[in-house]
């Protein structure tokens, strides 16, 4: 699967190892899935010593997802990385939030590394365009839109299906939410945007580009279809041709052109 990717994004790395939350920590819903994995990961030291060298053998550009409970956690991990793009997981619904704001965390990381920094924002952010401007001013090189959104499902006995009750909701239901976030942030910034949220087909990818994303990421669909990267790439090429775009770049932001300019 990895050979068909333009980049591989790791699971979030935290300073200490994390086992994650107690099972049951996944559940399917009508139009998506919930996960309360809880950032299970081997921790920063083992990631650097074992996981990262292994991932390098894939021969693809690597993006490392960085998490933590404080700005210092994030910055320390950034300082230890080299020859990767960093995606700051600022918005996981399954762990306690850091007390600092997204912009403060980005600023701390900017001071710690010259590697490219992408800020992954939550779709539940009250003013996502405002947050986009703030993280840009703090030194972010790009945005990743969107993370999962808080969700809950009940089982047949009217009890939550997840052990932790609430989890992150992903999959097709998130697609309009992702489109709205990309659309809003593109109006606020010229930063590169990795659009993600419920992409299953080339057409879904095209719609993210149309709203203003410059890149597209796949998540939940990979669980159902590990061949999705190759398939979506082929489908996107067909969609672009059908729509009359010579290159993917020509499709970026076309949805914006139709709306009279209004400032947010």
């Amino acid at each position: 699967m990895a050979r068909r990717l333009d980049a591989f994004v790791t699971k979030t790395v935290t300073p200490e190892p994390r086992e994650g939350n107690a099972p049951v920590r996944i559940a399917e819903t009508e139009h998506g899935m919930l996960n309360a994995i809880g950032l299970a990961n081997p921790g920063r030291d083992r990631f650097l010593a074992e996981t990262l060298p292994l991932l390098r053998t894939l021969g693809r550009p690597l993006w490392v997802s960085v998490g933590g409970v404080s700005a210092r956690d994030y910055a320390e991990t950034c300082a230890l990385l080299d020859d990767v793009t960093i995606e700051l997981n600022l918005s996981c619904p399954n762990v306690d939030e850091a007390p600092e704001s997204a912009a403060e965390i980005v600023a701390a990381c900017r001071a710690a590394t010259s590697l490219p920094l992408y800020a992954k924002l939550s779709p539940a952010t009250w003013d996502i365009a405002g947050t986009a401007r703030a993280v840009e001013a703090a030194g972010a090189d790009g945005l990743s839109l969107v993370n999962t959104i808080r969700g809950l499902a009940l089982g047949p006995t009217l009890r939550p299906t997840l052990a932790r009750a609430v989890g992150g909701y992903s999959g097709p239901a998130l697609r309009p939410v992702a489109l709205a976030a990309v659309y809003a942030c593109r109006r606020a910034t010229q930063l590169p945007i990795v659009g993600m949220g419920g992409v299953q087909t080339g057409h879904d990818a095209l719609e993210l580009l149309a709203c203003g994303a410059t890149h597209v990421a796949l998540g939940t669909v990979l669980f159902a279809d590990p061949d999705a990267p190759a398939r979506v790439r082929t489908e996107l090429a067909d969609e672009l041709e059908r729509a009359g775009f010579a290159t993917p770049d020509d499709a970026v932001g076309v949805a914006q052109a139709a709306v009279a300019t209004v400032e947010n």
Binding site: P23, A27, A40, D227
Partner: protein
């Protein structure tokens, strides 16, 4: 190596309330008993995990209990319907056992027919909650069958190499009688191949992914 292929439904046959879904095998490898496949569930976001029940010539067969939207949709598929099948996945049963005894509870009978063939038809004990469900015992000719309120552990000898599959309380009860039994566990799965970290169960105080470390686990 697991493969993912689109395969056609050959037929769905009913054994009591259980549906035996037969699909064309194509170039899929049936794997070893206890391994499972991720099968596309029509209209659903995620596939479903089923252990291989039987490997008839040119086919793969999965025993399904229709309990929710995905399993009901699968049980209703007509011949010729296509779906994605991905596998074989996970670790199966160890077959180097001297005195095997197969133990199954309810839908846990699913991996046992294929296992039984591999071990040349050892003794088997199957337990079901109802006599309707006990129709699935036809998949294991010669098995001892008990129905609620009799439990498999009521008739389980302690001196065999037990290979068991069934509900968690049954597996715990079997392990209490036969500490080194091979137990095939189950957990909700999203990917089935180790990516999502969703199917973990606690084993000896640690969380292990059933799709990678299991689904068959044993204490020894």
């Amino acid at each position: 190596m697991p493969r993912r292929e689109r395969r056609s439904v050959v037929a769905v046959e009913w054994l009591g309330p259980y549906a035996l879904l037969r699909v064309e095998r194509g170039s899929l490898d049936p794997g070893v008993p206890g391994q499972f496949f991720m099968v596309e569930a029509p209209g659903r976001v995620l596939p479903r995990a089923f252990s291989l029940c039987l490997a008839p010539r040119g086919e793969l067969a999965f025993l399904i209990e229709p309990v929710g939207a995905g399993t009901r949709a699968l049980a209703a598929l007509p011949p010729g319907a296509e779906l994605a099948v991905f596998g074989p996945l996970g670790n199966g049963f160890r077959l180097d056992v001297r005195r095997p005894l197969l133990v199954g509870g309810g839908i846990g009978v699913a991996p046992l027919p294929y296992l039984s063939q591999a071990l040349e038809r050892p003794p088997a004990i199957l337990g079901f909650r109802t006599t309707e469900q006990a129709a699935a015992a036809a998949l294991l000719p010669g098995a001892d069958v008990v129905v609620d309120p009799v439990l498999v552990t009521d008739v389980l000898p302690a001196d065999r190499d037990v290979l068991a599959c069934g509900p968690e309380p049954m597996l715990e009860a079997v392990r209490a009688v036969v500490p080194n039994a091979q137990l095939a566990w189950e957990a909700p799965m999203a990917c089935g191949y180790g990516a999502c970290y969703g199917c973990v169960v606690e084993v000896d105080g640690e969380l292990k992914r059933l799709c990678v470390e299991g689904p068959v686990l044993c204490s020894s």
